[in-house]
Symmetry: C2
Subunit: 339 residues, 2 copies
Amino acid sequence: MRDINIKDIARQAGMSASTVSRVVNGKKHVNSEKREQILKLIEETGYVPNKAARNMVLKRSFTVGIVIPDTFNMFQRQLFSIIERHLESFGYHTLFFFVKFEDQSEEACLNRLKAEKLDGVIMLHEIKNPVFYEYLSKTGLPVVTSTFHYPGISAIHVNEEQASRDAVNHLINLGHRNILMISGDGFTFGRQRAEGFFQALTEADIPWDESRVVYVRHYTPEFGMYGMRELLLRSGGSGKRTWTALFAATDELAIGAIRVLTDEGIRVPEDVSVVGFDDIDIAKYIVPQLTTVSQPLTEIGERTALTLYRQITGGNTKGDEMILPHKLIIRESTRALNR
Amino acid sequence: MRDINIKDIARQAGMSASTVSRVVNGKKHVNSEKREQILKLIEETGYVPNKAARNMVLKRSFTVGIVIPDTFNMFQRQLFSIIERHLESFGYHTLFFFVKFEDQSEEACLNRLKAEKLDGVIMLHEIKNPVFYEYLSKTGLPVVTSTFHYPGISAIHVNEEQASRDAVNHLINLGHRNILMISGDGFTFGRQRAEGFFQALTEADIPWDESRVVYVRHYTPEFGMYGMRELLLRSGGSGKRTWTALFAATDELAIGAIRVLTDEGIRVPEDVSVVGFDDIDIAKYIVPQLTTVSQPLTEIGERTALTLYRQITGGNTKGDEMILPHKLIIRESTRALNR
DNA sequence: ATGAAAGCGCTAACAT
DNA sequence: ATGTTAGCGCTTTCAT
């Protein structure tokens, strides 16, 4: 069945395509009787304007691209739902660009980006290839990065180092001094969170060396298990454990780590306190409820969408960096060191 | 900066747009020297064909729509990643249609669907409005439903009733007879899983009435908590507990339920055994590791993508229903009733 | 093997 | 207020 087009409507109404177009786009200067008639016809026929044709002549798509890792975690999953909702309320559709782990994926993503005539781009994923950013700045395409920062591009994020320091200080205030960390080497935030960890130790005059942190490949429970096992190995096995607290760069890492600890007969929080990061949805349901750093998900999503919208509609916010407040959420997985 | 188009390339190469088009689309009948020259030019300039123009003339978009609930859970999240990957390997892009809880969202979704000139649609969400299905069958648009079935539409899913029966039988075999269930009223699978629950009880000659199942609004941990509290209330509070096992229609429901049980001082699995459904990623990491029914995620994703691809490319598979095998995964959250 | 020309469905400038 | 017309960037006959 051929879809019906604007000319079909025009013909059936006995008017021109222009008039139909005006009605469809809610323009002024059209007789209200004719408007009604056309609207009725549209309703009856189920006519919907062909988007490709529309995009072509308008040279835009009313669509915003969201660049997100293929393996997006629950934090990102929640974030993009919020962003998608806000964008929709601004009248934009959302097109996802899943970046896979493979190298050429970034390039493929860029090519699709070019072909789409997007109105703007939101990046929830830290692309490595500088060509990507060059293209964005060269074309002047509105962009905002969410949860990380790239020079010259508007960004919405928390202060990662400070947030980590707060998490670690919570542990220190609880009396812990021998603290380990699992982080990842994939993205900037992994290094920033580790940096905050070291800063907190330094400020508390706790001696440390690099071996206190293990860097894993992905921020998933599975890699949390790997990281925890490695840390256990480094510290001479669970029998000779002298450390009493663990900071994980993401909640999912923490969940994996807790799994290993539990299997080893090490109780959380009785034997070891654990802090995560992100405050993903399930953090408050699992046993033990996870103490974690909460990023203001809703606000990040809102501000990201709004900042992009402002850029698209001309308010020049390009390059602004917005740091939103994080919050330490103390739950059951941490407690005072009993000694 | 204006994006460059096919004419720019043609002019720079001193050839016609037709030739460039042939090269871009890998057609025969073009001098290999000229082909090289054009390819080089494309490389240098970073030219990418305008998708809207291409879609318009071709009357298709090489894009598949995926209809998915706005609040998609982790199971769906994993599923759609797999589907997206496969579709991409077939040369199709993916466009997401998030259906929100509000009523008019389904209609809005249908309108967008119409405007997009999609090559096919995959539904991971059970749309209620019959107009939706009418449109699909009227246009002959390839469609596959995944994880549920609608008459006349190709479907890939497990046998929900049987899977539930298996889960409940596992509890029964462990000696449990007083078993409760949390399900949802939102979608068909919620009713099917409850149906399987009742069937298993009947088969084991365990008397039951409807009050053994509580139906909650969403399949989330939060609603798992509500459901568990309601069940506790119905059975006279945690003090007078006589039931010993719980079947939750999704793992997320189970996680919320376990949270409430833990808060009430009821231990899992020592006091109460819990079975979930879906085998979401974290099910094997949480404490206790969740016994659950695993849907063959990878295979469902593969078959869904493949079935749609076959429909698009003419192999007539329309209306086929494919039932894939589920598997009971026994972990730590269930154990034999000790009495 | 290549180019000229038509046309996809739509919007907007222009004319009336 | 409404219709006519041109043109968006591309593919595809149809000539040559």
